[in-house]
């Protein structure tokens, strides 16, 4: 459990550091002091800048909190998908689950419906994300296996269909909704607010708890459907449960931050290289690692260029796309072809 401890410490340090960096610099001691004061403890210094406390609680903390939730959700969803597809290349943005969830979210943004209040976007993203995951799952499996080439081609087809629908939503949108959609499509934590965080939180929590409960059975599933069944796994039920959990996690992360690609590919892969393939460690460690990665990526997105908030999806793809290509080549070599 050293890895979990290490990642937890890294996450806490990064949360404090990231919250202090920006146009208005706030040193870590003042951040801890500000948190202590909110908790009713008169410990540590308060931010000396008059706007410091305000900037922390109105802008920085919700943004960092959303980064944590989105990163944990995406990395866990990636690890779950790889387990259920039995394929290290399965990932929400690669196979089109993220863009599928984005279809529901963009339709809600464009039409402005709010039938479930604060949760409307997240629920819509969950529903279309679920539909997409079910579709990809049924299309990419042949006789109990998912070949790499089938998975990647299915991803291309599903992604292009989803982007057609998103384009349509962008086309019918009015000017302000269109601007919102364009930036959101590129992936950004710019719109992070406390209501967004509270809308995402329950989805992420339920998803993470469920993933840990599924871990043991996912280990068995890597033996193949038949052998897993012989060891007492209800394979069909497990697959369906994992698909719903993936849709929950992806829906939650896409709803307010758009499509942030490759987090679910890079993080579980690195964790597997360090800690081995067992899901009982892989899933919680991926959640922490994903949170760390997205905090760092978001920090880069908003500080690389002065006074500019770059799309975070651009940053993760810059790292993730070459990584994906490397992994694709390696899997191909190992399997001796495109099978």
């Amino acid at each position: 459990m050293g890895l979990i401890g290490l990642l937890t410490v890294a996450l806490i340090v990064l949360v404090i550091v990231a919250a202090g960096i920006g146009q208005l610099h706030i040193p870590p001691a003042e951040i801890i002091g500000s948190i202590m004061h909110r908790l009713g403890l008169d410990l540590g210094p308060m931010p000396h800048h008059p706007q410091g406390d305000n900037a922390l609680w109105k802008v920085r903390f919700p943004r960092v909190a959303l980064a944590v939730l989105v990163g944990a959700s995406l990395a866990t969803a990636g690890a779950l998908m790889q387990g259920v597809f039995g394929n290290p290349l399965a990932e929400p943005s690669v196979v089109g689950v993220s863009s599928g969830a984005a279809v529901g979210a963009s339709l809600v943004i464009v039409t402005g419906v709010t039938f479930l209040g604060n949760w409307t976007i997240a629920v819509a993203a969950f529903i279309t994300g679920l539909g997409t995951t079910l579709l990809v799952h049924s299309l990419s499996r042949a006789s109990g296996r998912t070949e790499v080439v089938t998975l990647v081609l299915t991803g291309i087809a599903v992604n292009s269909l989803a982007f057609t629908l998103i384009s349509f939503a962008t086309f019918i949108a009015n000017t302000s909704a269109r601007e919102q959609l364009v930036f959101w499509q590129l992936g950004s934590l710019n719109g992070a607010t406390w209501p967004a965080v509270t809308a995402v939180l329950p989805f992420t929590l339920v998803g993470l708890i469920a993933s840990v409960a599924l871990a043991r059975r996912l280990d068995l599933l890597s033996l193949g459907d038949r052998s897993a069944g012989h060891l007492g796994v209800d394979v069909e039920r497990l697959r369906l449960t994992v698909i719903v959990v993936v849709a929950l996690l992806v829906g939650a992360s896409v709803a307010f931050s758009g499509i942030i690609g490759f987090v679910g590919l890079v993080v579980p892969h690195l964790i597997r290289m360090i800690a081995g393939p067992g899901h009982r460690l892989l899933l919680p460690a991926s959640a922490l690692g994903g949170a760390v990665l997205v905090i760092v990526a978001d920090l880069l997105a908003r500080t690389l260029i002065r006074n500019a908030d770059l799309p975070i999806g651009m940053i993760t793809s810059l790292v993730g796309a070459p990584f994906f290509f490397w992994l694709l080549r390696r899997t191909r070599t190992r399997q001796g072809g495109w099978g």
Binding site: S222, L223, G224, G232, D234
Partner: protein, 267 residues
């Protein structure tokens, strides 16, 4: 969840049974009215030519395929009576081909065989069962190695160890010896004999008729989805029957020392 830990059945009890089972796959009839009972304390060999339905019969008995007609029983109850975990507590399966999607170690894979007992009092035996299974399958020396780095024969022994670690009273082995050298072939069948002597029931699909003749208490011969003979190897494995079933002249002699049938195709 209702989870009844099975009591061990006494020797000679019918632990699994197929009654008038028929199954079509993709429009082709594979099994045609097959009835077979499996008893504790017995090694039962399923033999027959390619495509006769041996592996399919095994998969119907183990619950992978529901038959189109007929019924399958396990531990005195129809198979659907049990939950997947309850079924796994009663029977273990070793498949012909084992694959794994992630780089688990041999020890991890064998330990997966213990999963039906997770959360039950028998989980206390996990460590001993895994160690014993590794030793029995002769793979203790590469317990830390990654499955994908093993040869075909070594992989087969890992799958066998996983099935053994499950400690079910009924063991299905689907061509366990196909990838093995002579020593390990004999060792696997010897192991089947020892398990049967400890009141387990072992059903093994083999192509090598001499292995069946030398180790099985009972042999069932399948041909075109039907059981054409079922009984003591000396009575069942005759030149006449084998010549007809395999469509190749076959000679059978009694072994000078043991009297077990020795089978050779005429060359």
């Amino acid at each position: 969840m209702r989870r009844q830990i099975p009591a061990r059945l006494p020797i000679g009890t019918t632990i699994a049974e197929a009654r008038e089972v028929s199954l079509e796959l993709g429009g082709t009839p594979i099994l045609d009215g097959v009835s077979l009972s499996v008893r504790t304390g017995e090694v039962l060999a399923l033999v027959g030519p390619n495509g006769a339905g041996k592996s399919t019969l095994l998969s119907v008995l183990s619950g992978d395929h529901a038959p189109d007609r007929g019924e399958v029983f396990l531990g005195g109850e129809p198979l659907p009576h049990w939950s997947p975990v309850e079924t796994a507590m009663r029977r273990a399966v070793m498949l012909q081909q084992a694959t794994i999607s992630f780089p688990f170690s041999v020890a991890d894979i064998v330990a997966m065989g213990r999963s039906p007992w997770y959360g039950t009092p028998r989980a206390e035996d996990d460590e001993n069962a895994v160690r014993a299974a590794l030793e029995t399958a002769d793979i203790t020396e590469f317990r830390e190695r990654v499955f994908s780095s093993l040869s075909g024969g070594e992989r087969a022994r890992v799958s066998l160890a996983r099935a053994l670690a499950q400690e079910a009273q009924l063991l299905f082995l689907d061509e366990p010896t196909a990838a093995l050298d002579l020593h390990h072939q004999e060792a696997v069948l010897q192991l089947a004999r020892e398990s049967a002597a400890a009141d387990d029931a072992v059903v093994v699909v083999v192509h090598d008729l001499n292995l069946a003749a030398g180790y099985a208490d009972r042999v069932a011969v399948l041909s075109h989805g039907k059981i054409v003979a079922d009984g003591n190897p000396r009575n069942v494995l005759t030149a006449e029957l084998l010549t007809e079933v395999y469509r190749h002249p076959v000679e059978v002699w009694p072994h000078p020392a043991t009297g077990a049938p020795v089978i050779l195709p005429r060359r």
